[in-house]
């Protein structure tokens, strides 16, 4: 029974103390080969997709991308004007100007196999400048934050994990809330929403930057359900994450040079 005691004490130390955290960063690279091998079928499929695509399909895809690019470029033009205007207004207010964040592109190479644990392994590590607490996005919204960093790989905790919560804001009116993960890839639950708060189905939630972990202003989720029961102290509000939690393969790390509140 010595080994049972050893295992249990290890688990308790792991959960309730920070003593193992430096070791945790070091073994990220150890488990990477396992995920690399288990990712091989996917990789082969991707390779085949890239090499064996028909000419017609390529031309079609190229056209679609070109038109999408045009639309995005048009939006960007508008954005540039707005950004300049925003900058001038901020100068009027003497507020610190928000510098555009630097990003690094990474690829998800593994997913934690336990359905309860929402963690992903990403092929960028401390060699690429990734640090603990860094925000991870996909093309659609906020995905999670880095919790363990190896030399060449890092592990990110998704915002839908049971142990994760992040401060958000309703984009329409600026109401501040906290979005909890509940272990379901399609659902976030908003904590302590008073019955009188102005929140509706379809509202966009953006990160508020209040926890000093996530940068402010990135889309997080869309409200899908608001249940106001006058008998309860708080309304029950659910939201669906904007990021494609179980589909995105390419993700972005955000580097923040001026980390702080707006």
């Amino acid at each position: 029974m010595f080994w049972a005691g050893a295992a249990l004490s290890l688990a308790l130390v792991f959960i309730f103390s920070p003593w193992l955290s430096s070791l945790r960063h070091q073994v990220v690279d150890l488990s990477a080969p396992l995920y690399w091998v288990s990712d091989l079928p996917e990789r082969a499929g991707e390779w085949a997709d890239n090499r064996l695509m028909s000419r017609a399909k390529l031309i079609h895809e190229n056209q679609a991308l070109r038109s999408e690019n045009l639309v995005l470029a048009q939006k960007l033009q508008l954005n540039a004007a707005l950004e300049a205007e925003n900058f001038r207004l901020r100068q009027l207010l003497n507020a610190s100007d928000s510098v555009e964040a630097r990003v690094l592109i990474g690829e998800i190479i593994g997913v934690a196999p336990d359905p309860q644990v929402h963690k992903v392994l990403i092929n960028r590590g401390s060699d690429n400048g990734v640090y603990v607490g860094q925000a991870v996005l996909d093309a659609f919204g906020l995905m999670g934050q880095v919790v363990e960093v190896g030399k060449y790989q890092s592990v990110a905790l998704l915002i839908t994990d049971t142990s994760h919560a992040l401060p958000v804001q309703v984009n329409r009116n600026g109401v501040r809330l906290v979005a909890d993960g509940i272990g379901d890839l399609d659902t976030l639950v908003l904590r302590h929403v008073a019955n009188t708060v102005d929140i509706e189905v379809g509202d966009l939630l953006v990160s508020s930057g209040l926890g000093l972990v996530f940068p402010a202003g990135y889309p997080v989720a869309q409200v899908t359900e608001v249940l106001v029961d006058p008998g309860q102290a708080f309304a029950r509000v659910k939201a669906r994450p904007k990021a494609q939690m179980n589909r995105s393969r390419h993700i972005l790390f955000v580097f923040e040079d001026n980390k702080g509140l707006e």
Partner: protein
């Protein structure tokens, strides 16, 4: 720990654990994930039942810890559960070996059940909790796979002249 065993026994032991670990992390998709059999548990059970060397709880501990590290889980959760499973198994080893395979399957279901509940208990301390259907799904799939697994692994072991 293992005594004078041929090199191929050690190789088989290590590679079977590696394959079990690989199966534990291979992506199955959200629908199939809850039915993932605990193949690594079966690997440990198989070796404890059939290995010519006296493998013990230390072996179970190391394998469980490797699984915890590989799955980004709570270190010690699988190690603890696997050690308890092995302890129960070693106590019932002689009786278990006289049973038919389908009867063994029932025993495996009970052992895996204990394993899953213990893993869930330790993970529960860190805020993760699973539901009963999820627990039952993996218990059922593991127990169902045992007769096939045992037969195949036994054949393979014999052809490698391990036993």
């Amino acid at each position: 720990m293992l005594g004078p065993q041929p090199l191929r026994f050690h190789l088989a032991l290590v590679s079977s654990v590696c394959l079990g670990l690989l199966f534990a992390v291979i992506p199955l998709g959200p629908e199939l994930d809850i039915f993932r059999p605990e193949l690594l548990c079966l690997v440990v059970i198989f070796w404890l039942l059939h290995a010519p060397a006296p493998l013990g709880l230390a072996f179970a501990f190391v394998v469980g810890l490797a699984q915890d590290v590989a799955e980004f889980g709570i270190w010690g959760a699988h190690a603890f559960a696997l050690v308890i499973l092995s302890y129960l198994l070693l106590n019932a080893k002689q009786r278990l070996k006289t049973y038919a395979l389908w009867q063994q399957s029932l025993w495996i279901a009970v052992l895996i059940g204990v394993h899953q509940v213990l893993v869930n208990w330790v993970q529960g301390m860190a805020g993760y909790g699973t539901t009963v259907p999820v627990l039952l799904a993996s218990i059922a799939s593991t127990a169902l796979i045992w007769p096939v697994f045992d037969a195949l692994a036994w054949r393979l072991g014999r052809s490698l002249r391990l036993f």
